[in-house]
């Protein structure tokens, strides 16, 4: 696998004039391609900081970031926390367990309480779709970043996926990615659909019919203006992988089996696991991504998860860089941007 060297200086110059209209990061449907590029360019600079011996910038000194998590999380929460701290923001973690939420406090009241502490950015993960939109409606002074809401969206994960892909592939336009797994219930896939199609990627979705978001894709060829007109659907993973530049495996949640959406894990593994044999169908050196957490041996074989084509650990590092970029963009006045 070869990483394409990018030229951050040129990119920076190319995107520095892009206006930044976003007060909140709720999903990528509101992002123009140039704005996505701006985030990725800035993340490139931030990643450079991660390679330094002293990984600290003073940019967000005096700013407060609260991560408010109503669901368990390792990667996303730690990633935001690290990103904020590396930019010298004060980062406070709040988890629903052990908080007033357990005493019955409503989401809105909790959010208002957090805003009242004068926080600048609220990073919200919630099991219900739309919770960050509720937060954005109620919070007048605080920026909201959606860190995953139900089965709706996970925009920062999609941005780090795009960053990782661009870093390795050099360009996103015209590249093919296969997303395989429980797409119907995946917020990662939903945000990636917006991001990847906006950036001109060829996206192939692959899953058993019961795990495909048919309503999201219905009429995509026939309906003028359909945002996913170019998205392809293939239920045979071997076919889907033909010539792909990258494959992203999604976690199969146990409750999908319990809900009767697939007959057995054994059958799912046989048909949809990303393994070494199948990966041979993709372009040589094709990238393997996974948003984590993984069920190794289910949606992805251990050999592939930890193989030479895997960029799964890089995704985690890139997540810090991308979130640094986003916190920076939300907190800094436009004039202070690089």
């Amino acid at each position: 696998m070869q990483k394409v060297e990018t030229t951050p200086a040129r990119r920076k110059a190319g995107s520095a004039s892009v206006p930044w209209p976003h007060r909140h990061i709720l999903d990528l449907d509101t992002f123009a391609p140039q704005e996505i590029s701006l985030v990725l360019d800035l993340a490139t600079s931030m990643k450079e900081v991660l390679g330094r011996e002293v990984k600290k910038l003073p940019s967000l000194r005096g700013k407060t970031v609260i991560t408010c998590f109503y669901e368990p999380s390792t990667r996303t929460r730690i990633s935001f926390e690290t990103a904020g701290k590396l930019l010298s923001a004060d980062v406070i973690n709040m988890q629903a367990t052990g908080s007033s939420v357990e005493k019955g406090e409503s989401l809105v009241d909790t959010l208002l309480t957090l805003q009242a502490t004068a926080c600048d950015v609220l990073v919200l993960r919630h099991p219900h779709a739309g919770a960050p939109y509720l937060a954005a409606r109620w919070l007048g002074r605080t920026s909201v970043i959606n860190a995953g809401d139900g089965t709706h969206a996970h925009p920062t994960q999609a941005l780090l996926d795009l960053f990782t892909l661009r870093e390795h592939l050099g360009t996103l336009e015209g590249r093919t990615i296969v997303i395989v797994g429980d797409i119907a219930h995946s917020r990662v896939a939903r945000s990636n659909l917006w991001g990847m199609t906006k950036m001109g990627m060829r996206v192939v979705l692959c899953a058993p019919p019961t795990l495909l978001p048919w309503d999201l894709l219905k009429g995509r060829r026939e309906t003028p203006g359909h945002p996913f007109a170019s998205v392809e659907v293939e239920t045979d993973l071997d076919k889907a992988l033909e010539g792909a530049d990258a494959v992203m495996a999604l976690r199969l949640q146990k409750e999908r089996m319990e809900a009767g959406l697939i007959p057995s894990l054994r059958e799912y593994i046989a048909l949809y696991q990303v393994n070494e044999r199948r990966l041979l169908r993709a372009r040589p050196g094709a990238l393997v991504l996974h948003p984590g957490p993984m069920n190794e041996g289910v949606e992805i074989s251990p050999a592939v998860a930890h193989g030479s084509q895997s960029v799964i650990q890089e995704q985690v590092t890139n997540g810090v860089a991308v979130r640094m970029a986003l916190l920076y963009l939300l907190c800094m006045p436009a004039g202070g941007r690089p």
């Binding site: 409503s106 779709a129 739309g130 409606r137 139900g150 309503d215």
Partner: protein
């Protein structure tokens, strides 16, 4: 009581095919005459209805008054005032209160409370099953004796097919309708119409087939038993088709649709009042919990099928499914928020604006679906309602069809301010309501008038 002469309005009464400028005379609580030249009797109260439409009072088959048990959402008093402000002179009170209305004593309590309030007529419905548990049949005959006008476990379907069969069969004893909330529980595990909008928002969907399969089941059981079946708040094109076929077979099946299912679509969940491209970026107004209702707001294809069915008479009645909630009930995420729209005070204007002004539905048909249509669903117990025939109850409503107004939920009489129409401008306004010959609402004072003049 002083006689009442309503003078000079355009009287629209589909029960007797009247659409003409006329006077209406009400004496001792009943309509005495409708005609072009009636002289006011001695001491009569005279209402000048020049420039207004005079219709029979509206009859709502499906109202949640929340009392007893959830008085913070609504009481019989606030609900009845909301009713008359919306032109409804009769409301059928759904029995999914706490406790549910499944005994004669509770029926009596609701009835008496409605009479004491003295605004709209409050006709209780009784539960189909004891405790609304969906297991054992409630004592339908006793409930009928106590005065219910039909039976429903609304809020939940009668999922047990045997119980539904038994209810329909047993109800032939008393001839009152069995009203089912159509929702196959195994399919209805979502909070929004299954389609693009729900999928985009990441919300679990309810497919139309959840409703249609139960409608088909109930119609088959109706054919088996001969009981009178009324299908509550139908929302899909498929349900319309099974109702149409049932009626063609001559089965005793009736159906209602709500103003919101007839006029709105699931695009309203995107937060833009249903306007603009469904593919446009989501704004912070998305996930509007005021649009969360059960059954869910459907797609335009289903809404259009409902409008056509209303036009053709496949849908017998417009019923509000008025479901008031507190602000807190609606303030959480979409998944957590309560289902329901507070609909009594916007029903007429929404339907007039969307169906008549914009949709070309004959005005007379709208009035029919709000008056004699629902009264017929109630059979014997609906006699004298929804009509201005001599001898009918002296219930009428005065409408200003030209007036445009902007919905402000803070001005609702209902405790439930939960409406997706806040800030929306509608055309057509209820300006006066008369129940039993008594003026109970006067728009000029926006309060119960208790016998004043317009």
């Amino acid at each position: 009581m002083r006689p009442l002469l309503v003078r000079g309005g355009r009287v629209v009464d589909p029960s007797q095919g009247v659409d003409a400028t006329a006077h209406v005379l009400i004496r001792e609580g009943r309509v005495e005459a409708v005609g072009p030249s009636l002289a006011p009797p001695d001491e009569a109260l005279v209402l000048d209805a020049t420039g207004l439409v005079v219709c029979p009072g509206f009859v709502d088959l499906h109202t949640h008054l929340r009392e007893p048990g959830e008085e913070e959402k609504e009481t019989i008093a606030t609900g009845a005032l909301a009713a008359v402000k919306g032109g409804f002179t009769t409301v059928c009170a759904m029995p999914n209160t706490q406790p549910p209305i499944d005994t004669p004593a509770l029926v009596e309590a609701v009835r008496r409370r409605g009479e004491a309030v003295g605004l709209a007529r409050v006709l209780p419905l009784g539960c189909i099953s004891k405790g609304r548990q969906g297991r054992e049949l409630a004592e339908l005959a006793d409930l009928a004796q106590a005065g219910v006008v039909g039976f429903s476990d609304d809020g939940a379907p009668v999922a047990n097919a045997f119980l539904m069969r038994t209810a329909l069969h047993y109800s032939t004893l008393i001839g009152l309708p069995i009203i089912n909330h159509l929702e196959e529980p195994a399919l209805a595990r979502g909070v929004a119409h299954e389609g693009w909008v729900a999928s985009r928002l990441g919300l679990p969907g309810v497919p139309p087939q959840a409703e249609e399969s139960m409608a088909s089941r109930d119609i088959a059981l109706c054919a088996l038993t001969g009981g009178r079946l009324h299908l509550a708040h139908i929302s899909t094109a498929g349900t319309v088709e099974v109702v149409r076929r049932a009626k063609e077979r001559g089965l005793p099946v009736t159906a209602e649709a709500t103003p919101h299912h007839l006029c709105l679509t699931d695009a309203w969940l995107l937060g833009e009042h249903g306007e603009g491209s469904p593919f446009a970026p989501l704004s912070a107004r998305a996930y509007d919990t005021a649009c969360k209702v059960n059954p869910p707001l459907r797609s335009a294809e289903h809404r259009d099928a409902l409008q056509q069915a209303l036009r053709e008479g496949v849908i017998d009645a417009i019923a509000t499914d008025h479901a008031p909630h507190t602000a807190v009930d609606k303030m959480g995420t979409f998944a957590e928020a309560a289902f329901g729209i507070s609909g009594l005070e916007t029903a007429f204007a929404l339907c007039y604006t969307a169906l008549v002004v914009q949709g070309g539905l004959p005005f007379r048909r709208l009035v029919e679906a709000l008056t004699i249509g629902p009264a017929r669903v109630l059979g014997e117990r609906g006699k004298g309602l929804g009509s201005l025939r001599p001898g009918a109850w002296g219930d009428l409503v005065l409408l200003n069809l030209a007036e445009r107004w902007t919905v402000d939920p803070d001005r609702f009489a209902s405790k439930g301010k939960n409406t997706p129409l806040a800030g929306v401008t509608l055309q057509g306004r209820v300006v006066g309501t008369v129940v039993g010959g008594r003026v109970v609402y006067d728009a000029r004072t926006a309060a119960p008038a208790g016998g004043g003049s317009l």
